[in-house]
Symmetry: none
């Protein structure tokens, strides 16, 4: 086929590459394998991406874009911190279930220890989230809807930690197994987890005076 690749094809290459990278790991995924599954030649991949690394980056950027879009929608849809939190938890569950490969890509970069790239990524990815959540908590604090002694940045950090782990728990094999070990595998596990997480977030484990 000597026809220029359509946008669709290009997108499919990234989708399949993402699947391969996150299934086999960036090292073991092969350009040839990705090419074959995408129905294109190896050469054409090199036409669009300088090397394997560049293809990986492209997949990553794409995955993170999808993830961010999701998060943005969530935070913009709700007002109260509590409502936002619930939405984000539910999104974490559903997004990770539907697009596990994309979350695994995210997980993958936390690994890629070499090269200054990691810092760059962290900045690109987390800045948005960090600021978004920190602002949420700041606002809530000002409004008097959360504790006065809570440091917005720290709380945002803990909250994001929980969300990240939730994402991983629904997409990465290891974390999936770990979730099973902690919480079993019952029908209603996921919904219960949402409820419990909200409880945990809102009130911690300490006994309420009023209870």
């Amino acid at each position: 086929m000597l026809k220029k690749l359509t946008q669709e094809q290009l997108d499919q290459i990234l989708e399949i590459a993402t699947e391969e990278f996150s299934a086999k790991g960036p090292e073991k995924a092969t350009i040839m394998g990705i090419a074959r599954k995408s129905g294109v030649s190896v050469g054409v991949i090199y036409k669009y991406y300088a090397d394997k690394e560049a293809l990986f980056q492209a997949c990553l950027t794409r995955s993170l874009g999808m993830l961010k879009d999701c998060l943005n929608q969530a935070t913009s849809r709700h007002e109260s911190l509590e409502a936002v939190a619930e939405e984000l938890i539910r999104i974490a569950q559903s997004f990770a279930k539907e697009h596990p490969a994309h979350i695994r890509m995210y997980h993958a970069i936390t690994m890629d220890a070499e090269g200054g790239r990691v810092e760059e990524y962290a900045r690109a990815i987390e800045s948005v989230t960090a600021q978004l959540y920190t602002e949420c908590f700041s606002k809530a604090k000002e409004e008097g809807s959360i504790r006065k002694d809570a440091e917005p940045a720290a709380f945002a950090f803990f909250f994001d930690n929980l969300l990240m782990m939730l994402h991983f728990s629904y997409s990465c094999e290891y974390y999936r197994e770990r979730l099973r070990i902690f919480c079993g595998d019952s029908e209603d596990r996921d919904e219960k987890l949402v409820q419990q997480m909200l409880l945990f977030l809102k009130a911690g484990f300490m006994l309420r005076d009023t209870q």
Copy 2:
């Protein structure tokens, strides 16, 4: 040099291998590289470890052993959930700062998507923690020291999630940068983080009636 390897050298091989594995990832780390840095021949590594995988496992086992020892001490030293939590948080900080490569090993296996090995690892590693924490929360609940509507397993899960992320935040490059983005880099950041995390754990972000 045809001198028999000392125990020290053997241990150093594992330490250096751990460093390599966690710095470059299990795939990119090479036996030859590990051998060179350890000042031994390739052959000697194969004398002690059947293959690269076996060496990796040995490093992993060693790292997890060190980590578990730490945790066990922590939980056995204290009575109250609160005290145990504080101890675990402080240990996470200090252990990860002192032995970042060992935590990165742990992080590495959460990646290694292939092979049923992942499940096996998860079971080997998490079972202990899961049971330990779940029991802590169960006991606390029975004693009436935590909320009645808290599900011990779920709370143990969230708690462990926070601890894991704390570990990573002090040892993996990506997470380190992420922590910086969220919480900056100030002198007293780490101590503050302990305090805030305890606050977050105990009381969540919700406003107390009595405050």
Copy 3:
């Protein structure tokens, strides 16, 4: 050179590989050596053959094909057992002289002690010959042209034994030297050997009553 390999080159690879395998033995022959002598890269050999074993098999199959073609022609060209025998003897001589490496390939597999492969090979190769010769002898017996107390299978076996050794005697270094030791090196040795072998076959060494 990134030019596609011609059929000729492909064939040459097999020829050179056959040469290497039969000269150094299947173990000592190296893919790199074969590649270099063939003027191609190592990779291209792995493109066409899964591994060293597969390359060896391909050489073997090719050699046996050539050999079988020869034998088939011989047996189909003649009617009487005697004529067939003479033809086969002459073919053994000429084929082994012209394609020593191919006979050595055959000899090589009689060594390859490991793996059930040996049985498989024996079956693939010898079945044809065994049946062909046994039938020849059976027919001859029925026609009354050979002794009544001759067991066709056994006689076919002895006959084939002599033919195999003849093949080896003209292609494998050891057997070549052995032939020299037994029969010298004279100009007319090979023709005499044909005559003597026919004599041996037909009448054994025993004195005829009529002589």
Copy 4:
């Protein structure tokens, strides 16, 4: 154990090495494996044999010695060509059945194509047999007990060819299978084979006038 090796141990090393060499092939047999099975250290083998090749040679020489002893006894025990032939056939069967590894060693050198060694071996081994058999046939011819037109050297060659193949047919896996293909596997196969071979030798396949 710091005691000098006994002659017995030395002999056992050769026996075990012979077994290994002929079972796995000279390449795949390992010095370490031979040492372990012999209950000695690798080092001690190198004390007695310069290298693997030298050990192989020693095994070979020893095996050939055993074989020759056998043959010598046979030829010296009988007078008539026919009786010697029968004895040699029976010895081939029994020796090969009892000491397959030693015959396989013999077979192995017919392979070892490299190095002038092959010629040297052929000379060392075959000269004896060649002369012995050729003399037998010469004498028989003079005595008038075999055909006048038989060339002793050629007949000795064919006879030895049949004997060698018989040896192989009872010791080398490939030839063993081949024998099965030709002659089946029945209880009385081996005895019948002796009878048939004698028939074949003495009278060939041609019809006798007097029959």
